[in-house]
Symmetry: C2
Subunit: 149 residues, 2 copies
DNA sequence: CTCCAATTGAGAAGGTTTTTCAATTACCCG
DNA sequence: CGGGTAATTGAAAAACCTTCTCAATTGGAG
């Protein structure tokens, strides 16, 4: 069990929630993945740890963890809603078009840009959501061919 | 019928598609709306013009218009996939948290920011998707109260 | 006006998400 | 270490959303 997994589990307990097999499984799958996972993918992973875990529980777990901001939904251009563990603070995801490997980045320097938009539109801007799509270093190297595993 | 509606209809014809009641209805609903509309909202609007129009047709129409880049999907934080007429060029939407009124903005000055992220991550960035959320001028004025119509 | 391919509505099928409820589990307490 | 209790769960069903199929209709070219 890696550090991140432990942190999330502690956080769960700190909020008064029980640490169950299903929650452990979802968190482990996400901390162990380099890309956002869908509800179905999480279910498949969880069942490898305990085949009794049901799909419904995954939905509930994902809802809970999202609510606690321990994981975050990641919209992809096509299929909506994968999930990834949330680093503390405000981050965004950059997802590889070929292999779907995702990295988080922060230091979100949108401040000036947002100010300008606010001035132009008259809106008071309260939140933003940014997803980037690209091609990761590995897939650039293996150019033109099939996605990297 | 406003200019924008006419433009879109002409565009349809130019691509060899028929201008049908259903397509007219969807386009009119979107050109007449200040916020992105979901498939269901489009269906409801279309039925006000002709109750015989079915939901399936709305799906097909939305797919066609999206394919032609005459309308664009707009992901919102909660419910995925509203649609809005596409202004030419690359734009993003800023949606009011209270009344859901949306404005488009362009002149997307993310260039420098994206370069920096590319340098940090090694990814070649091929696309981005930005949604802003805020409170529009009208709702700011009517502060604290119910959403404006 | 007529004809033909494109388009449509209805119904059914496929998929995803939510609800309900009794059985099970995690963990607090002794 | 067990035992009690409330939170959590799995299964089944319901609700919902999206796609498919096919016969009937419609737009627009001629």
């Amino acid at each position: 069990m890696d550090d991140h997994e432990q942190t999330v589990l502690d956080d769960l307990r700190a909020h008064g929630y029980k640490v169950t097999q299903a929650r452990r499984a979802v968190i482990r799958a996400l901390t162990g993945s380099v890309r956002p996972l869908s509800v179905n993918e999480l279910h498949a992973q969880a069942q490898r740890m305990n085949p009794a875990i049901g799909l419904v529980t995954i939905y509930r777990t994902v809802e809970l963890l999202t609510h606690l901001d321990l994981i975050r939904p990641v919209h992809l251009m096509d299929n909506c809603h994968g999930y990834a563990v949330a680093s503390p603070g405000h981050t965004h995801h950059l997802v590889c078009k070929k292999c779907h490997r995702a990295v988080e980045f922060d230091g979100c320097d949108l401040g000036l840009f947002l100010e300008q938009v606010a001035r132009e539109t008259g809106y008071r801007i309260t939140g933003h959501w940014l997803e980037l799509e690209g091609i990761c270093a590995r897939c650039q190297a293996a150019d033109g061919s099939a996605p990297q595993p």
